[in-house]
Amino acid sequence: MKLNKNIKEKNSIFKKWLIILIAILFIVLPFIINAYWVDVLFFFGIYALLGLSLNIVLGEVGLFDLGHMGFMAIGAYTTAILNTYFGIPIMILLPISAIAAGAFAWLVCSPIIHLRGDYLCIVTIGMGEIVRLTLNNNLFGITGGPNGVFGIDFPSLGSIFIVDNSTKFYYYIWLIVGLTIIGLVNLQRSRIGRAWNCIREDEIAAEATGIDVKYYKLLAFVLGAGLAGVAGNIYASKLMMVSPESFNFMESCLLFCIVLIGGMGSIPGVLIGSAAISLFPEFFRTFAQYRMLIFGAAMVAMMIFRPGGIWPRKRGAAEFKSLLMKAGEENG
């Protein structure tokens, strides 16, 4: 028993150092690589944020959401429209886009939250497509149709803190990803996180133990959508424009793959998954038109050789097993 504890402690010390090392690496990286790769890493950050947001819905609660880009679109367009028409600063719009996306999720998901598995999957696809098509059709004449909205400002706080170049954007996104990770780790350990995992493992049992399944599912959707809205805000201010084609079904599918390639419900897994999805096409740029062919084949191969993802989350299963063993010892 004591030996076990020692190993556990050593593991946690190792983990701590690993996290510090990775953090330092991320801080010094922009000084080593050129501006192009800083941009690539920025988009890695965007995918990581989106992956983390989908991970709440898909990884923690096990709800199939193949229309997640719809929520990001709501966030991005909220930012774009309020900024270009009313001149509201991007930083103030950051929480507003999150709230807008979350409210949208609450509105559209409330009536469909009772659907299960594949039925929920198609409804979220439909919802994502409705959002994209509606934006594409120039709703109320303010979404700009297929061209989208352009001329969005850089994020700024007064005149001192302005995020206006690749390196600053890089630190900005990774700061937000870092804060999100801290928040999500705490959430995973909280009562809410346990309720979510319980619903994922067995919905009927969860309901029987008194978990308000509908409430927690909706909460996951609203939080996930809110985070996607944040990602949308940053994305819009980085590109200085938004257009409906950035939020198509294919992108939602890629997000789905990020979570599954990394490992369901695992935060390091999501980071690895988003690295795989966003960096892979960059590394294979020399293959030009064969690049996506290789990408697809790699996805298939990945699932054949590591079906659980690269870094699956072990905590739940391991703890449960030790609990069972304890119970067995007590009984027999």
């Binding site: 039925y119 497509e129 509606t134 294919m250 789905f256 599954l260 369901m264 054949i304 079906p307």
Partner: protein, 303 residues
């Protein structure tokens, strides 16, 4: 009245494409509980295969069999080719991961879909291709005051014959009973002496074969095909599958036809730009009130 009937007929034509593709989704889902995301791209591959056959074999085929013979030959060969492609995908991408649950299969299916889509782009080029006009029959029929093309009638006839055939196989024959048994409970079906391997082979060959034929017909009907069209049609057909009740063969047919008609009526009476929005809204409304689809039976989840 004239417009509504013509639009109804156009809707039924598009609907029969959706229905043929939806059958593939539904059969695979029924037996394997797997959404075959590569199915839409197999359909596009079928369309391209038919295109190549008609372009390169057109002189030979039309001289030997006549214009209709060429069309039928292209459809049959596309069906066989896509049937083989379907079983290959099952062998490579799905078979190794059946045992580990459903979600990895989704990623694998998406991967296979990306491979096929980009494979088409590499082989046939990124620009849309057009079915040559001399291989597509273009005779107009005047029935009373309606003008319909003969091609449309033929497409409808072929689709309904195919659907009827499949309905007969699945619902009336012993082999069909075996498929339905597998859909209900695969393990018990295996214990009853049903060869699961054969069933899986059959559904992964027949579903994509129907999709491939539908691909050739879409190519003839619209003339323009592109390598990304698999996503669009696949998504619509999948919607149709869910609308009718997934895993249910008559449901997939009804869902497909209904979706086509809705889309056409929506674009006539509401707005062309919002026709897809209308289709998805109808789907969501149906699922809110009938969560199992129109013909899907209420199955109790584990208790």
């Amino acid at each position: 009245m004239k417009i509504i009937l013509e639009q109804l007929l156009n809707g039924l034509t598009i609907g029969s494409f959706y229905a043929l593709i939806a059958l593939g989704y539904s059969m695979v889902y029924g037996v394997m509980k797997l959404i075959n995301f590569a199915h839409g791209d197999l359909f596009a591959l079928g369309s391209y295969l038919g295109y190549t056959l008609l372009v390169f074999g057109s002189t030979y085929a039309t001289v030997t069999f006549g214009i209709w013979g060429g069309m039928i030959a292209a459809m049959l060969i596309a069906a066989i080719g896509i049937g083989i492609a379907g079983t290959l995908i099952e062998r490579i991408a799905y078979r190794p991961i059946y045992s580990v649950g459903r979600l990895p299969a989704v990623v694998s299916a998406l991967g296979a879909s990306i491979v096929i889509q980009n494979g088409i782009m590499v082989v046939w080029g990124p620009r849309p291709q057009a079915y040559p006009s001399q291989v597509v029959p273009s005779i107009m029929l005047n029935v009373g005051e309606f003008k319909i093309t003969l091609l449309q009638v033929i497409i409808l006839a072929i689709s309904f014959v195919l659907m009827g055939l499949l309905y007969y196989i699945v619902q009336k024959t012993t082999f069909g009973a075996a498929i339905r048994a597998c859909a209900l409970d695969r393990d018990t079906a295996a214990l009853m002496g049903i060869n699961i391997e054969t069933i899986i082979f059959f559904i992964f060959a027949l579903g994509p074969a129907l999709g491939g034929m539908s691909g050739v017909m879409v190519g003839m009907y619209y003339r323009k095909i592109s390598f990304i069209m698999g996503w669009n049609y696949g998504l619509k057909a999948f919607t149709a599958t869910i609308l009718g009740g997934i895993g249910n063969i008559p449901g997939a047919m009804l869902g497909g036809l209904l979706l086509g008609v809705l889309e056409m009526l929506g674009s006539t009476y509401i707005s062309t730009a919002y026709k897809d929005v209308f289709v998805f809204l109808v789907l969501i409304l149906v699922l809110i009130f009938r969560p199992r689809g129109l013909l899907g039976e209420k199955v109790a989840e584990k208790v």
